[in-house]
Symmetry: D2
């Protein structure tokens, strides 16, 4: 079962364990003639990279992407694009001690229940290391979306524990290690993270992601809705426990007269819907938000059981990432981009290259 | 593109427009030998049925399910099961007036942008009428899940606008038209709904759904996670704008030491995870929640545009359902059941009929 | 598992047993705006219909197609198109006697081994009755292929037992009940069939199918090749035991210097390849051929076993179709058309509406 | 579109160009706990390897398989298994001259028409080099099939041009470079091949493949039939132009009374069906045959056109493989094995681990 593949037409299959020899992906269905070179992956992989600041896990990867296939003389050929990254910083010893126990709140236990195998290599397949390849694949998706449709996909950290932004500026987002949209708060975030690290604990976060210039008509009712696919895409990111489109849970207490986005000849009056109605894009920005739990890999001992069926206390030694939500921002952008390119191709398959050209609201 | 199909191994394909001649579905991959008869569909279809009380839309359907194939002498044969319901109450005239305009907040506009077709028949394919077949298909899924694994799936209304339950009792849920878990509040809900109807407006809601006795090991990393598939399934329900698993957005402000579910020899100490870790079931109850927006079909005029590109005011005449969230409860149960049976079959495909029999926490 | 669905983007799901209440299909992914009405199905269903002459099984169907969804005011809407045909001529009594036995060479035995169910209703799902819906679905596919690309798909009977055509004329094919391309031989075929019927035996056949005006570039390497999909499509037809593309098995004894189709500025010098190279269409006619076995439903007693595990002799009473290959001709056309429309949509998904416009050989 | 993936539940995705940096595959859905090590791939890769004798193309590969993921301590973990082979013998210069022309009978032309890209690296993706990964993936499939079900899959060369076997002995097959089942003919084959090489031409071939101990019940009607999937699998092999199951095209001239396989209490009296009825295995050996065309890469000049639209004569320099059918034998075995393991998993998904245990014919 291709459960490690994402997308129906722009299909990304990832493989690899956090501390195995390598991670990689195969991208099948990419349109031919798109210019791609190995340097194109650098920027987004650096944004995602752990160890980019003292506020994220200290693992340091070279993360050099090798293009194994599907690109000839700098252009995609239409055949499968395989990308490979060797794991240079395995440090499996960090994990040696806990190979016989299950960390509470971690996938150790469920993988073992499902497969009967305990692969302790840095969480094996369940590690966030896998998301590196989502970001790499999305570099290609973003490039096609931008060149062909002018679509841009951007994310930011919208909450860190109980700290919320007190202002918003897209330019600020890329200028601090938190992807935080309000520069003035960065010192406070640094302070909060230092305290958190000292406590050995972790905290949750909220990440928002927005796609602009998405044309109307993308998304396929009923079980291939754009919002349904986005929900699956974001929920598939490690530690995500909730997903919202537009006003999300805020819509519960709204009245229909408030929530509906009225239409005027010069455009929509609001975007409570988050750019999607009936599972199809409206032409407004597509807006999604996700909640990330605090990681279970913390320094505070926790009650658990081991393979021998004994009660034990567990401490996760080694790297400690007090807020995994911070580096989830580029991953959320990646998943949004992968959903959008897939629907762009699905739309033109059924409705043609230009879709069904209707007069559109500005 | 099979965008009207749900599930990889227990595959449900639905068809039909709200006011077309019929709606139906085809279920492919159902295990053979399961006892099914037309009477089995009655109870859940009645629970979902509009018009079950004065608090939901007044459309009254016979909703008689005809089994067209896949069942012989009362048992599933392993071949496709087709179910058909004739639309007996079409009343298309209700919609005649708005065939040239777009209702703000409704899928009219996006369907027209995507397909270039304006099918006004009761919202056509985008109507909640389609969910009738999800409930019908889930009757079969629930029966197999219960008989083979003892799995039960139950839902309830967890918020109506700004009214939240002040107590919880599963027995109460089926004894009021709101699927509300606290009987004492029912008169207040009646009052609130009457006021809402009088105002011609609508309100949002929250529905929770819980599956019990789900064995550990169901769910497939990375892009076929149980929570990822649940998120897509619930988000595909009309009007849903947000989905949570376990503590959901509440996890943002939690610490890792609070959120992680510690394990003892007599079981888990808590269920913040909602029964899923790393995309795989833990053996605890699977808990999900969803937010429904207030319907855009209200009696209060709204600004919009028409096919001629003119500014217009729109009022949705005809049936008026002030809180679509109420009857979304059985639909949420249905989607949870369809996800679970699909993963039950996917698990035994890869890991065998009994899965990988590990010692399990009680 | 959607094993009753055909096609990745133009997806046809069929359901129904030969002698159940109805057969039908759901077509998902059809481009919007295509003109379709119920009368469009008549011609091809009549061509396929059993009982069109005394040389095929005497079952007489009304085969009235009802369009249940997906078409509004005579045009496809882009939503699923459901087609339904009620079974009016069930005559299950014919089959009553053999419900406890297995007919040698028939799927009775394997369905029972797989599903543990013995559904005797006219062969249940394994009956050629199912192919009626393939022909119906292909009516829509053929119409789109013709209107958008000028593609035509035609088939003929290329061998009946040991009788081969002694001439070829497309015009003759539709003017005799055998789809035979040489009118002068029709009396001889009539005579052979009468003798065969008298003997109570059956004979095999070969059917050829040709698609013209297929543009170059359709087909997806490696596992979605046009010829690979055609092979699966034709092999899925009841009684088919062999499939060839172009010269097929004749290529075994050829030299490379004979087989290769040389290219000149005014086009290809030959078409040994059958219009496909590397799984992708060349722009020449796509040519396929299939072998059909003689049906096992004959009047000559055969040794078999029964459900009680006893040795028995079996005679298939009731309808007797001495050469099922005759009416397989429209079914082969249907499968070719379904493969081509699927690849047309797949090609434009990846490569755009016009494909990659290269200078093409005339 | 995952057109480079094969299999629904045991899914193999291949990537790589003949003369790119590497080829590889990702296997998703493999059951956990299967013992696999890198040495397991050696035997079958050597059997397939080009250059194993002077009668096949002289390219010599190291073909060292590296397992990148999905195996821990010598056992499959249930996560994706990635296999990688570096291309050590690229010799692209061989192909330099023809980068501007199209070889008649080769996929050069169709790939360029589809994708607009001319990737001359040894035929790029269309090269038989890709089949190396099918053989590697099938090593895992064969091991599981043998260990769990005792299934064996074996192939042999059944015709070389107009030379057919004059005797049959499975033991002989692995003792000559032709996979020929009759040792006495080997000198004659050597002579024929030498003459063919001297002539600079090529010839076609027939390969047969047989699977034994396949239990009854594998295969899914209607569009997932075992024979339908086998037909697609074999037709997807480079140069294959025809596929037969059981008697194949021989069934055309048979009578029903000859073709049907009568059943006795001690088993089937014959196997004209090739072990499949109604798309489902009968429990008899599954028998398939395929026709391979003579390769178009020959030393005899041929008329063609070039990218500039000029008439040219083409000679394929470099390696010359006068009968590609010889080394197609292990590839045919591989595709049969991949189809069987996929259906084994699909069967237990729907019908359970032991299937539906019926009394079976010996």
């Amino acid at each position: 079962m291709s459960s490690n593949s994402f997308g129906k037409l722009f299909t990304v299959t990832t493989f690899g364990e956090s501390h195995g020899p390598a991670i990689g992906c195969v991208i099948d269905g990419c349109p031919p003639g798109l210019a791609i070179e190995e340097g194109d992956f650098r920027a987004d992989l650096d944004r995602r990279a752990t160890g980019k600041s003292r506020h994220t896990s200290q693992r340091r990867e070279a993360d050099e992407v090798e293009i194994l296939s599907g690109v000839y003389e700098g252009k995609t050929t239409g055949t499968p694009i395989a990308l490979l990254i060797r794991n240079t910083d395995q440090r499996s010893k960090d994990y040696g001690e806990i190979t016989q126990t299950f960390r509470p709140g971690h996938a150790d236990y469920t993988y073992w229940q499902k497969y009967g195998i305990r692969d302790p290599r840095g969480g094996g397949r369940s590690s966030a290391r896998e998301t590196t390849m989502r970001v790499a694949a999305a570099v290609i998706a973003k490039k096609w979306l931008a060149e062909r449709h002018g679509v841009t996909v951007r994310g930011y950290l919208a909450q860190l524990g109980d700290i919320a932004p007190e202002g918003f500026d897209w330019d600020a987002v890329e200028q601090n290690p938190f992807f935080w949209p309000h520069a003035e708060q960065v010192p406070a975030l640094e302070k909060a993270m230092d305290a958190l690290r000292k406590s050995g604990d972790s905290v949750g976060a909220r990440v928002n992601v927005v796609a602009e210039n998405v044309p109307p008509g993308w998304g396929e009712p009923i079980y291939g809705k754009l919002d349904g696919d986005l929900a699956a895409a974001l929920m598939s990111i490690n530690a995500v426990k909730g997903v919202e489109i537009g006003d999300g849970f805020g819509a519960i207490t709204q009245r229909g007269s408030q929530h509906r986005d009225e239409m005027h000849l010069d455009g929509f009056a609001s975007n409570h819907a988050g750019g999607i109605l009936g599972g199809i894009s409206t032409g407004q920005p597509v807006v999604a938000s996700m909640a990330l739990k605090p990681t279970s890999s913390i320094l505070i001992p926790g009650h658990s059981v081991n393979l021998a069926g004994e009660a034990v206390d567990v401490v996760t030694k080694g790297r400690h990432d007090p807020c995994v939500g911070i580096r989830a921002t580029p991953i959320a952008e990646a998943m949004m981009a992968l959903v959008l390119i897939d629907h762009a191709l699905r739309h033109r398959a059924q409705c043609g290259d230009v879709g069904v050209m209707q007069p559109r609201l500005p």
